[in-house]
Amino acid sequence: MPGQHLAPSVARSVKVLVVGAFGVGKTTLIGSVSEIEPLRTEEQITTAAVGVDPGLPEKQTTTVALDFGRLTISQEIALYMFGTPGQRRFWDLWAGLADGAVGALVMVDTRSIEASFEVLDQLELRTKMPFAVVINQFPDSPQYPVERIRAALDLLPTTPIVRCDARNRTSSAQALIQLVEHALTFPAFQKAPA
């Protein structure tokens, strides 16, 4: 455990989110890039119970697991990748994580593309965060042309769509590169360093 410390020269951390439906390969992608075994932490969130008497604001506390990894990217900078379920009921958790993030990789499984709708809706409605869509290729995934996927997910022409094998380090890094390049076109990142 103590061997996992960052080099003393690292004084800056940068964060990206990896979001997507359950089982889409978030932790696989994080693990393929991470220099440490992906770690898991838990966060408690309060979710308003749905369908109860509105006069009784019953709330439920649930625990959501977050898997994350780390990559020392230069002498001074460490990149953290946080995997989080993107569904609406986890929004409280997500909102805290989204603060300060460079952007999000949205992982999509073409065998169940509709599972990504809610995640994309949440991203577009609630944040201005740059995101790139990552098509995690499973052996039995149908091979749709990128433009069909763009249409099916109703994505902007500028949103990157990257095919990826989340188990492969170079392939996963390529998805991160596309995200960061895309983020650099956003006004929020045009500012001179503070």
Partner: protein
């Protein structure tokens, strides 16, 4: 990964560890905030076991989320403990950027360079 792995209920009595507080004394702590113990200062004698473990873990630089994972405690709870230890001079926030501020272009360019070297 099964759904059960990511989503479950469990009864952590967090308020016991934080003397009933739900929020840290500072709001600049994020999961990726880098922390390091102040050289040679052991945890205060009044520290709880969690605080002592926390200071020990931070003999080298780690992010808040890493500390939380190693302590097996929720990030929000560790933020409260960390905040107190920063206030008492036992821990330092290594990555001292402001909350709600995005990394600058120069930082992102360096991230890109690093990723391209993979």
């Amino acid at each position: 990964m099964s759904q059960g792995d990511e989503y479950r209920d469990h009864p952590v009595r967090s308020y016991v560890l934080t003397s009933g507080r739900a929020h840290p004394t500072r709001n600049t702590l994020r999961p990726e905030t880098l922390l390091v113990a102040v050289d040679g200062r052991p945890a205060p004698t009044t520290a709880t076991r969690q605080q002592r473990d926390l200071v020990r873990l931070c003999r080298g630089t780690l992010a808040l989320a890493e500390v939380a994972a190693y302590l097996a405690l929720p990030v929000s709870l560790v933020a409260v403990l960390v905040s107190d230890l920063v206030d008492s001079g036992h821990l330092t926030i290594r990555s001292n950027h402001q909350a709600h501020v995005l990394p600058g272009r120069d930082i992102l360019e360096k991230v890109l360079d690093g990723l391209r070297n993979i």
